[in-house]
């Protein structure tokens, strides 16, 4: 008689576990669906409101990198320093600055692409009714 009782007990336990697992599957998805319905426009607005500051920062950095030789940090300013270091025989410094110039030149290209992307994202936000 002990075996059937244990079997029944285990069957009941198994059933309870399956029910609990089913509830665990159903409840979180329902909860997330409920929370997302009101959260999505707010998230969109918050993201869109970040764009103006990013545009300002990007414009500022591009202007600096693209500046003349007197603008500290610009590509031309770096090139002038490379020339100076080379003329003075400071080859190690010249190499470091040359490598930095190569990175910074690529950075300027990437920043220009991101600037265009930010403009498109701002247009997207306006299309969704968010005033950027």
């Amino acid at each position: 008689m002990t075996t059937p009782r244990r079997s029944i007990k285990s069957t009941i336990m198994l059933g309870a576990v399956v029910l609990a697992a089913g509830a665990a599957l159903v409840v979180p998805s329902a909860a997330s669906a409920a929370s997302n319905s009101g959260e999505l426009p707010a998230r969109l607005q918050r993201a869109c409101l970040r764009i103006p500051n990013l545009e300002t920062r990007t414009d500022k950095v591009i202007a600096r990198l693209d500046g003349d030789a007197s603008t500290k940090g610009s590509l031309l300013w770096l090139q002038a320093h490379i020339d100076d270091a080379t003329a003075k025989g400071r080859t190690q410094l010249a190499t470091v600055l040359t490598n930095r110039l190569a990175v910074r030149t690529q950075t300027l290209q990437v920043l220009m692409q991101r600037q265009t992307r930010l403009t498109k994202l701002a247009d997207l936000c306006r299309a969704h009714g968010v005033d950027v």
Binding site: R5, I8, S32, N36, P41, R57, T58
Partner: protein
Amino acid sequence: MVRRDHLRSTAMMIATFAVAVGLVSCGSSDAGGATVPPAPAATQPAITPVPTTTTVTVPATTDAPTPPATEVATTTAGVTVTDAEVADLEKQLDEIDQLLAGVDADLSQD
């Protein structure tokens, strides 16, 4: 005597019914048949259910992001936006933010 026999037969019926229920439940839980229950009775209830619940729970968390992708919310302009679009926008802005932070750090070396 008749009453005693009646009680005995009732007890036998209950016992037979209980055994039948036990055999049916054993047959549904594992395909081993009626001879299996005696030996692994101690290990059977606890060990087998636990892995099934854990393997079921893991897909639940990975499946969770899928429904919001199909879910849409309407903004004031009447244009719909999905969760995936907002997530992509946030990701792009984060990437630009990190890029600018890296450039600032690079420029500070001059």
